[in-house]
């Protein structure tokens, strides 16, 4: 085991290197240099994350900030952030955003000038198993997505030649964002964490609005407003902690347990807005107008994970309290509502977004319950969901750049048109809802965790989870069926996959292999990072047990081997190809059927969307109201509940 100093160096590396790459990208002339910087920066970040995991994974390390003037730097940077946000809000004439930025700035100024000097942070940075877990997710998936973005944005701008090409700024934002994410997971000083938190808000705002269309700008401001309200709650929590308890550090807050309930409730509010839980989900749905790398990086695998990271961190404080129960209800309600609504959603990116919101809801519910088993589930679900969802976004982006459609109905024949991409797509979808992949295993464990709660509340959560699970199977199977549907077997001549660049292939294949690796490697991952974290914070063992791991791995091997073997052995076997049955009529490869009177008619096959049952309007309206009430209840409980 290498020393603390190594870990400190690696932390500094991970915080500073992506930012440096970002600044270099801002001024880099020429495409070659940009590509080189992105690839090199990606490799460096990934290496740094892996090195950190190797060096510091199994331990907890705390560090002072030895840099002089660091506080001044944070203060100035925070003002700059606020200034940029204010500038955009004024430029685009959004009074609500202006008001919120000013309120946020006022609170932060008050904290920085009046409260913070009295409570200097002794240990500003730290690294524990959860931080390392998050760092691996950020540091491996993030760079892969940045590399993917090289290929994606090239095709994107070729298709939209009228859009101004601000790719340097785009990549600057991606890398700066990575630094900010590392900042969130390594900050023990909550004031610093707030700065990084707001930095991710700004990056998200700028990335959503990147194309500067009217819709993009409007959705960007919706995201900004909602996340700013979270930031304000964060600031209030900071002020309360400083004035009431005289602390500003996360570990000291967690040590207070139930006494810190109000600040924990406020931080959960901030986390809920960041993780796009109901009633704040609309910003994530709107964020889907951004280029797909943004959706993959921010809005599925990393930024929204910062929200659930914070909820899981708060678990020791809120477990078993009314606040925790309210948070669990919000999470479970979001899971249910988003899953139901997804049945009626035809836009593929929005399907992925609702699914993200639903899975985050599951993690939030686990955090709200806060039992050791539940928190363990939250940790592993972060990893599983990030990998599979990111893979899905990457693949959807590749398909989108070739077929220029987001409508699910245009995805048929994909297994013929783009077979390798279709297989990767299937891998991603399977990762989301097929046993024994992680998301389903986590759902299974979550059900057990909910049932182990003694009160009827656990039963209510279980029922919500059951209905949500049914809905989940439906909407993923629909998409899976579309991809595997073979309509025009002659379409294979058009070699669309030849236009996919190496950047995209590397990123997508890495993701697919990672999704298999984390599934097969769950016992290792759990034993190395998740279980020690639970043991550290709760003192009890966790995990699934050897028998279940064995079953999982056996199922995974069967799932990988059997379809492949069956397909390959059958291909060489003897069978006669005949036409599809359409009542004996002739059907040609373009789905034209010879009908009555010699007329040729086209068959169109569209998925069921069950609009009558699951349309977004009614369901989300009720769910928003219920979750909104739960949020008010959560905040009230934070004030009133005496543990």
């Amino acid at each position: 085991m290498l020393t603390d100093t190594t870990v400190a160096h690696l932390l500094t590396f991970l915080l500073c290197v992506p930012l440096s790459v970002a600044l270099a990208l801002l001024v880099a002339p020429g495409v070659r240099l940009r590509n080189l910087l992105v690839r090199a920066g990606a490799a460096a970040t990934g290496a740094g994350a892996l090195a950190l995991a190797a060096a510091g994974g199994a331990g907890v390390h705390y560090f002072r900030a030895e840099v002089h003037g660091l506080e001044t730097l944070f203060f100035a940077a925070g003002l700059a952030l606020a200034g940029v946000m204010l500038g955009y809000a004024i430029k685009y004439k959004r009074p609500l955003a202006v008001a919120l930025v000013l309120a946020q700035a006022a609170l932060t100024l008050y904290f920085d000038l009046a409260c913070a000097p009295a409570v200097p942070a002794e240990r500003a940075f730290y690294s524990d198993m959860f931080s390392v877990l998050m760092a691996l997710v950020i540091g491996i998936l993030g760079p892969l997505i940045c590399v993917y973005a090289l290929g994606y944005m090239r095709d994107f701008h070729r298709h939209y030649p009228r859009l101004p090409d601000r790719r340097n700024f785009f990549f600057f934002l991606l890398f700066a964002f990575l630094s900010a994410m590392f900042g969130i997971v390594f900050s023990n000083d909550l004031g610093h964490m707030l700065f990084f938190w707001e930095a991710t808000t700004l990056c998200s705002f700028l990335l959503i609005g990147h194309t500067r269309t009217k819709e993009a700008v409007s959705n960007a401001f919706r995201a900004l407003v909602m996340n700013l309200s979270g930031g304000i709650a964060f600031s209030l929590a900071l002020i309360y902690l400083a004035r009431q308890f005289g602390i500003v550090e996360l570990d000291k807050m967690l040590a207070l347990r139930g006494a810190a309930l109000l600040p924990a409730a406020l931080l959960c509010y901030a986390a809920i807005t960041k993780a796009a839980q109901l009633p704040f989900s609309s910003w994530l749905l709107g964020a889907m107008v951004a280029p797909t790398p943004t959706s993959a990086l921010l809005h599925s695998s990393t930024m929204v994970k910062a929200g659930v990271f914070l909820v899981l961190k708060m678990a020791p404080v809120i477990a078993g309290t009314a606040v925790g129960n309210a948070v669990a209800l919000i999470g479970a309600g979001t899971f249910l509502a988003a899953s139901l609504v997804n049945i009626a959603e035809p836009n593929v990116k929005k399907v992925l977004a609702y699914s993200t919101v639903a899975n985050l809801g599951l993690i939030v519910a686990c955090g709200g319950i806060g039992s050791p088993a539940a928190v363990w589930i939250g940790l592993v679900l972060v990893v599983f969901h990030a990998v599979s969802k990111s893979l899905l976004f990457l693949v959807v982006g590749t398909v989108e750049n070739r077929f220029y459609t987001k409508d699910m109905e245009n995805y048929d024949n994909l297994i013929v048109k783009m077979p390798v991409t279709a297989l990767l797509f299937v891998c991603g979808i399977a990762g989301m809802f097929v046993a024994p992949f992680g998301v389903v295993v986590s759902k299974w464990a979550a059900m057990k965790a909910f049932l182990d709660i003694p009160s009827a509340f656990g039963g209510v959560l279980m029922i919500m989870l059951a209905y949500g699970s049914g809905a989940t199977v439906f909407y993923w199977s629909k998409l899976l069926g579309k991809i595997l549907s073979m309509r025009d077997q002659a379409d294979v001549e058009k070699k669309r996959e030849a236009t996919i660049g190496n950047d995209e292939w590397v990123a997508e294949w890495s993701h697919a292999l990672l999704s298999l690796a984390v599934c097969a490697g769950l016992p290792l991952l759990s034993a190395w990072l998740a279980e020690p974290y639970i043991m550290l914070n709760y003192g009890v063992p966790s995990g699934l047990g050897a028998f279940n791991y064995g079953v999982m791995i056996f199922l995974l091997l069967m799932l990988l081997a059997l379809p492949a073997l069956a397909y390959l052995s059958h291909r060489r076997g003897e069978y006669r190809l005949a036409d599809t049955y359409v009542c004996g009529r002739q059907m040609d490869s373009h789905l034209l059927v010879g009908g009555a009177m010699g007329a040729w008619r086209e068959i169109t096959l569209k998925n069921y969307y069950l609009d009558g049952f699951f349309s977004a309007g009614a369901i989300l309206r009720y769910a928003d109201i219920l979750c909104g009430i739960a949020i008010l209840f959560m905040l009230a409980a934070g004030v009133l509940w005496k543990a």
Partner: protein, 143 residues
């Protein structure tokens, strides 16, 4: 041997007056109960061993009959039920009628009658089973 015990049939009405069709369906009713022999009326050529054709072949349905026959897996037999399927019957000289079923597909069993009686149809099916077995044996010998 098992083919004989489990004959699944596909019934197609070419241009019949529906008389023979009603008799075919009557075979499945309690009075005649063809399911005693394991006969199931599947509506799907891919599941069927026997193709029962009623009515004569004309320009519109000859392609359909060919397609249905092609979509059936081997071994398979074709039964022409009723005199119209056998030879065109009383309509054989009409301008729109091409003739009996054997104009488009090889027929193995002819069941004349107008309408063919359920006893005759069941008898025809039983004979067809024998033909089916012969075909399967021949196919196996080839392999």
């Amino acid at each position: 041997m098992s083919l004989k015990k489990s004959p699944w049939l596909l019934h197609y009405d070419g241009s019949s007056c529906n008389g023979c069709d009603i008799e075919v369906l009557a075979c499945l009713t309690p009075v005649y109960d063809a399911e005693r022999f394991g006969v199931i009326n599947t509506g799907n050529p891919r599941h069927a061993d026997l193709l029962l054709l009623t009515g004569s072949i004309n320009h519109q349905n000859e392609e359909v009959v060919r397609n249905l026959y092609a979509q059936m897996p081997e071994p398979k037999v074709v039964l022409a039920v009723g005199i119209c399927a056998t030879s065109g019957g009383v309509f054989a000289d009409c301008y729109n009628v091409k003739g009996g079923a054997d104009k488009v597909v090889p027929v193995d069993v002819y069941i004349p009658g107008c309408a063919a009686r359920p006893e005759a149809i069941i008898d025809g099916i039983v004979r067809a089973l024998g033909v089916l077995e012969q075909k399967r044996a021949a196919a196996e010998k080839k392999v």
